[in-house]
Amino acid sequence: MLNNLNSFLQALYRRNSPAFFSFVFLLLLYFTALFADFISPYPYDVQFRHYPYCPPTSINFIDEKGHFHLRPFVYGYKLVDPVEKSYTVDYSKKYPIYFFVKGEPHYLLGFIKTTYHLFGVKGEGHLFLLGTDRLGRDIFSRLLYGTRISLTVGLVGVFISFSIALIVGSLAGYFGGIVDTLIMRLVEVLMAFPAFYLMLALRAMFPVNMPSVLVFIIIVAILSLIGWASLSRVIRSMALSIRENDYVKAAKVLGGSSLYIILKHIIPNTFSYVIIAATLAVPGYILGEAALSLIGLGVQEPFPSWGNMLSEAENVNVLTSHPWVLAPGIAISAVIVAFNLLGDGLRDYFDVKLER
C-alpha cells in the first residue's frame, strides 16, 4: 500500500509536477485542518476588542536601529483612530516570536488537553499574521479553523454523492429497460432545477439558527443530493458499455449474480473515471458551502468557514481600507486550483496506465 503510494507519487511528479505539488499542498492543508487548534496562535472566537481591523503584523529580523536579531520579533500596534481604524507601530515595544507558547487551553485532536500553541508571542504582544476582522479576531487563526469546514465539505460531499451516483448509475446501466427509464427520468427532473436555487430552497426547510455541526451536516446533505444526478448519468452510460464486455457474460456463465457482476465488474471499471471526476467535483462543493455561508445560510458565527469569513468582504469600503479580509477568498481559489490541477494530473496518470 505504502509502496503503491510511493510509486504513484513518483509517477505523478514525473508526468505532471503541478499536480504533484497540488497534492502535497492539499495534504498539508488537511494536516492543518486536523491540528488547527494547535497551529493557530489564538482560538477562533477570541475577540481583541482594542484591535478591530488591525493590519497584518509584520515580522522583523532587523530592528529600528539596524541590529539583526536571530529570533524574529513583532512590534506593538496602537489604534490611533477608532473611526478610521488606523494603527501606528509602537517601536518601543518588541515581542519576540517563540515556538510552543502557552496560550488558551484547547483539546489537541479532540482529547489531549494542552495550553501550548505551535508559535506565538508572549506577554502583551499580538501576532496577527493576516490581520483581524471587525471584532478583532485573528483572521489567520480563523482561516485555519475554517479549513476544517471547507475541506471536509468537499470530501464528504463527494463521497456521499458519488456513492449514490455509483449505485444508481450502475443499476440503471446494467439492468437497462424499465429500471433505466425510471431512474433516468428522476435524474432529469432533478437536473432540470437550477442548482443554486434548489440549494436555497432545501436550506430554507431548516431553521436558520442551528448548532454548527448540524448545519454542516445539512449543507453536506443538500450539496450531495444535488450533485449525484449528473454523475449518475455518466456512470450509467459507462455501465451500459461495460456490460457488453465478454467478461460480464463470462461471469454470468460462471454463475455470478447481478449484484456480484455490478460490484466486481461494472463499478471497478468506472473507477479510473470516477477518481478524476471526484477530484474535479470537490471545488463545486467548496464553492457551494462558501456560497451558502456567504449569504448567512451556512455555518453560523462565531464558528468560521471560509464562506462566512468572506461575507465581511462584501462591503466595498471595508475591502478597500482593509484588504486582508479577502484572505479566505484567496484560500478558496488556491484550494480549487489545487484540486483542478490534481484532477488533471490524475487523468494523465490513468490515461497512460490504460494505454500500456
Binding site: Y247, K249, A250, V253, L254, G255, H265, P268, N269
Partner: protein, 316 residues
C-alpha cells in the same frame, strides 16, 4: 443411442430491428429460424457459417444469455427454462464458455489468478490460499507458467489470455464448453496451439464442445460432427467427413470452395434480391435454384443416419 447432453429443439430467435416512436417494434431480424441440434457426451460439434448466420446467437441461447422466442433447450433431457435452484446451478457449472476476444473476455482490473478462479469464488467458499493453489493447477492444465499468476491481462499475449479464459472455463469441471470463435482473434501459429489444447483437454476430461467458428480448417481439425448454418437455418449436418468431403448443399460447397487452395470450385450467381421471405434463404445466390425452392420449408432430407441436408437438390 446415447443421451444427448444438450439438445436444442426448433429454436427461433428474433431481434428488434426498427421501432416506431412509441417503442413498438416495426421490423424484426430473425437470427435463428427453427434450429435443432444435439451435443453428445465427449464429442465436438462444430458450427460453421458466415458472419451473421446466427452461430453466436445459438451459443448465447445454449449458455442462457439470451432467451429464444420459440423452441427450447434441454440440458440432460430437462428443459432449461424450467430448471430451478440446485438444478440450474448444476447446469451453470456444467456448461461453460470461451469467447472470441480474450481482450474483452478478461476483466482488465483482475490478476490472472483471480480471473482463473472466478467461478470457484462465486460457487464455493474457499480461502485465498486454496484459491491460489487451484489457480496454479489450472494454469498448469493450460500450459501456462506459474509466473503469470500475478499478472494483469494487459501484460499477457493474446494466446496466453485465451489460455486463461480456457482455464477459467475448466475451473468448474464442466461437461460442455461452448467455444464461440475461440481462435478468430489469434495469430495462425497460436491458433494451432489453442486447437491442440482443446483436443488435449477433451481427451483428459472427456469434454464436449460446441465449437463455433467461421474458419473451416479449424473446425475440420477439431470436430467430430459439423453443422453448417446459413441465415438462421441449419442447411447441412453430418459427420466431419460427410460435411467436408461428401457435402451436398450448395452453400457448404461455396464455403469449402472459398478456402484458399481448395480443389472445389463453385460459381455463385450474382445475388438476386428475393422479395418473399419464404423458401430457401440461399435462393438468391444459388446457381441450381429452381422455382420450387421458393416454397421449400427447409425440412432436411436424410442422406444417411447422421448426414442431413436441407436442399431440394438432394431430394430429386
Amino acid at each position: 443411442m446415447r443421451e444427448p447432453l444438450i439438445e436444442v429443439r426448433e429454436v427461433k430467435k428474433l431481434y428488434p430491428l426498427r421501432r416506431d416512436f412509441l417503442g413498438r417494434v416495426k421490423e424484426w431480424l430473425s437470427a435463428l429460424n427453427g434450429v435443432s441440434l444435439s451435443v453428445y457426451p465427449g464429442e465436438c460439434l462444430g458450427v460453421i457459417g458466415e458472419s451473421g448466420c446466427g452461430k453466436s446467437t445459438l451459443g448465447k441461447i445454449i449458455l442462457d444469455l439470451e432467451r429464444p422466442e420459440e423452441g427450447k433447450v434441454l440440458f440432460r433431457g430437462k428443459e432449461l427454462r424450467k430448471l430451478k435452484g440446485r438444478d440450474y446451478k448444476e447446469y451453470r457449472k456444467s456448461v461453460q464458455a470461451v469467447f472470441q476476444n480474450p481482450q474483452s473476455s478478461l476483466n482488465p482490473r483482475m490478476r490472472a489468478w483471480e480471473l482463473v478462479v472466478e467461478g470457484l469464488k462465486i460457487n464455493y467458499a474457499l480461502s485465498k490460499g486454496e484459491l491460489l493453489s487451484r489457480a496454479e493447477e489450472l494454469l498448469k492444465l493450460v500450459n501456462l507458467p506459474v509466473e503469470v499468476l500475478n499478472k494483469y491481462p494487459h501484460q499477457l499475449s493474446g494466446g496466453q489470455k485465451q489460455r486463461i479464459a480456457i482455464a477459467r472455463a475448466l475451473a468448474l469441471k464442466p461437461e460442455v464448453i461452448v467455444a464461440d470463435e475461440p481462435t478468430s482473434a489469434l495469430d495462425v501459429s497460436v491458433q494451432a496451439q489453442i486447437v491442440n489444447l482443446f483436443l488435449e483437454l477433451q481427451e483428459k476430461f472427456n469434454l464436449s464442445y460446441l465449437f463455433i467458428s467461421h474458419s473451416l480448417p479449424v473446425v475440420e481439425a477439431i470436430s467430430d460432427r459439423v453443422i453448417v448454418m446459413y441465415k438462421g437455418y441449419v442447411v447441412e449436418e453430418g459427420k466431419n467427413e460427410e460435411v467436408f468431403t461428401e457435402f451436398a448443399h450448395p452453400y457448404t460447397k461455396l464455403l469449402i470452395s472459398s478456402v484458399p487452395g481448395s480443389s472445389v470450385s463453385f460459381k455463385e450467381t450474382r445475388e438476386q434480391e428475393i422479395k418473399k421471405a419464404q423458401g430457401c434463404p440461399f435462393y438468391g445466390r444459388c446457381p441450381y435454384r429452381k422455382r420450387e425452392c421458393l416454397s421449400y420449408d427447409m425440412k432436411p432430407f436424410k442422406l444417411s443416419d447422421t448426414h442431413k441436408v436441407a436442399c431440394l437438390l438432394v431430394a430429386s
